[in-house]
């Protein structure tokens, strides 16, 4: 096991663009890489709740509660742009781009540095 940080290519950009997400284990470290709204993010595949495989859950639009002009509820709706990662163990949700839980800003995913060079998606671990 090396001690310093190192760069690892974990996906091709075209592949990630098509699939939105790739979850991999790199030498024992599990992480999910996401492409959304033109941005790339990488998160540890460990949920802050009970340590579940959060990146192996679904990607869902964030559910919002719009109000009509008279402040009556317009019923639940899907946010047109925001996407959440949903942990498959118990349903905690996290914004793909910020990693934060929608109801508790203190609960969030742990980031991993990630960048795109040419057609390669590279994480630093």
């Amino acid at each position: 096991m090396s001690t310093g940080h190192r760069d690892v290519v974990v996906a091709g950009l075209a592949d990630l663009r098509e699939r939105e997400r790739v979850v991999v284990e790199v030498d024992g470290l599990e992480l999910g890489v996401y492409l959304h709204a033109g941005e790339v993010r990488a998160w540890h595949n460990v949920c802050p709740h009970q340590g579940g495989p959060v990146c192996q859950g679904k990607i869902m639009p964030r559910t919002i509660q719009p109000l009509r002009d008279d402040r009556k509820s317009a019923g639940p709706a899907f946010h047109p742009a925001d996407r959440n990662i949903v942990c498959p163990w118990h349903g905690f949700e996290f914004d793909i781009l910020t990693g934060r839980h929608p109801a508790h800003s203190g609960v969030g995913l742990r980031p991993i540095p990630v960048r795109v060079e040419g057609d390669e998606v590279i994480v630093t671990i």
């Binding site: 290519v9 996906a11 979850v23 790199v26 460990v46 495989p53 192996q56 949903v86 163990w89 118990h90």
Partner: protein, 421 residues
């Protein structure tokens, strides 16, 4: 495994992990729990007091064991035509929101069992036990949890009898790490008595369960003979809570979240209150009472609330010689779903009811809000001994279970299947 670009670093081993869904192998869904076991509690003796049979997946096997020709005919007819796994039951499929619209992928498991011998339920349960590091698991029904609200008492009776036969003849025989609580059709006390006597010597049956979601007053004299039989058996009586949208008060709630938060605690609070205020602990002092699946936050509330009332109105609880909280400290509670957003409150609550000796770990696997054993090992305020008691040693005392190791090592579970989905 996709074709990854050639790595530019020193040749890392990259493995793709797939999305988790209802068909994922239990060992893949729980691979992180196995890693937790490997790191944190592989040498603990662990008993899971509340996991679920998902008997509805094998509902035809239960229905064909109904001992009444007419009800078996009706059940099988419904099963084959329109009701399927809901035949004869009173659950409302359109109001089953547990998976949050499919977001919680593992809820409603349908994993393939290709190449495995033995009953698929037993195979799935064994995978779960091994993956979580459990020595024993006590299985409860799922779809039958609401049968106490079924308008036809005789349906509860025939289904209760059939389920007990299926549980003991099919499931528990195949793996002695699995244990069961006898389903008591509590709306019909004389059948409960008959079943307690009938299964007195069954090794797989380690207690009796009443599904709490019902309106029966537990102190009613119609249960006197039943309680005497249970007390004599030495096996515990567990009340397993649930939800019921048909209860008029709960009809105000518009989200499953709200229902789940209140309903599970509601029924067990009512039954505990009746049990204590009517002095049942004085009348049946040797019944071991276990309260299942209501979390823990309600316990200190009810202790304080009942003590407060009894001090002001002792003439309404004339059978008591101690405060309600003293009786509550002698009952047992299962841990799941354990509320942990405030460690201060949880610690105080656990102290209030002597969790060190009275709390029993439960997973509720494979339901959506299950708890891994790490929910106990990671509590910062518990001593090592308290953790070992809660995870298994308390259960061994209550249920008379031997404490020798029964599970495989977490390392070998991970070697066999490292979690890929």
């Amino acid at each position: 495994m996709p074709d990854f670009p050639t790595p530019r670093s020193d040749g890392p081993r990259i493995r793709e992990l797939a999305e988790i869904g209802g068909r994922s192998d239990t060992r893949d869904v729980l691979a992180h729990a196995t890693k937790q076991a490997q790191r944190e509690y592989d040498d603990y003796f662990i008993v899971d007091i509340d996991a679920h049979v998902s008997e509805d997946h094998f509902w035809g096997e239960v229905l064909e064991r109904i001992d009444n020709d007419v009800w078996r005919h009706i059940g099988m007819d419904q099963f084959g035509k329109f009701a399927g796994n809901n035949a004869l039951l009173n659950i409302q499929p359109g109001m089953s929101h547990q998976s949050v619209g499919g977001r919680i992928g593992h809820q409603g498991r349908k994993e393939p069992m290709d190449g495995e011998s033995g009953h698929p339920f037993v195979t799935a349960a064994r995978r779960g036990m091994d993956a979580m590091g459990l020595d024993y698991q006590v299985v409860f029904p799922s779809a039958m949890l609401l049968l106490g609200m079924h308008p036809q008492d005789e349906v509860e009776v025939v289904l209760g009898r059939a389920f007990n036969r299926w549980l003991t003849e099919v499931v528990l025989r195949q793996d002695d790490r699995l244990k069961g609580m006898l389903y008591l059709p509590y709306n019909t006390p004389e059948v409960c008595e008959e079943l307690v006597e009938k299964y007195a010597d069954d090794e797989g049956i380690i207690g009796y369960t009443v599904c709490s979601t019902r309106n029966n007053p537990v102190h009613s004299d119609v249960y006197t003979r039943l309680y005497k039989l249970i007390e004599a058996s030495g096996k515990p009586l567990a009340f397993h809570s649930g939800y019921h949208w048909g209860d008029p008060s709960f009809a105000q709630l518009n989200r499953f979240l709200s229902m789940h938060a209140l309903s599970f605690t509601h029924y067990n609070q009512i039954h505990v209150t009746n049990w204590i205020i009517n002095a049942m602990p004085e009348r049946f002092p040797d019944i071991k009472m276990v309260w299942v699946e209501s979390g823990l936050a309600w316990i200190p509330f009810l202790m304080q609330r009942l003590d407060h009332e009894v001090l002001m109105r002792p003439s309404e609880a004339p059978g008591l010689t101690r405060l309600p909280s003293e009786y509550m400290k002698e009952m047992w509670y299962t841990s799941q779903p354990m509320e942990r957003t405030s460690m201060e409150l949880l610690e105080a609550g656990m102290k209030a009811f002597n969790a060190e000796t009275q709390l029993l770990y439960s997973s509720d696997w494979p339901h959506w809000d299950w708890d891994a054993p790490s929910t106990i090992t990671r509590l910062p305020f518990l001593s090592e001994q308290a953790k070992r008691n809660i995870l298994g040693l308390n259960a061994a005392r209550v249920f008379n279970l031997p404490t020798d190791r029964r599970k495989p090592a977490a390392t070998s579970v991970l070697q066999q299947r490292p979690g890929i989905s």
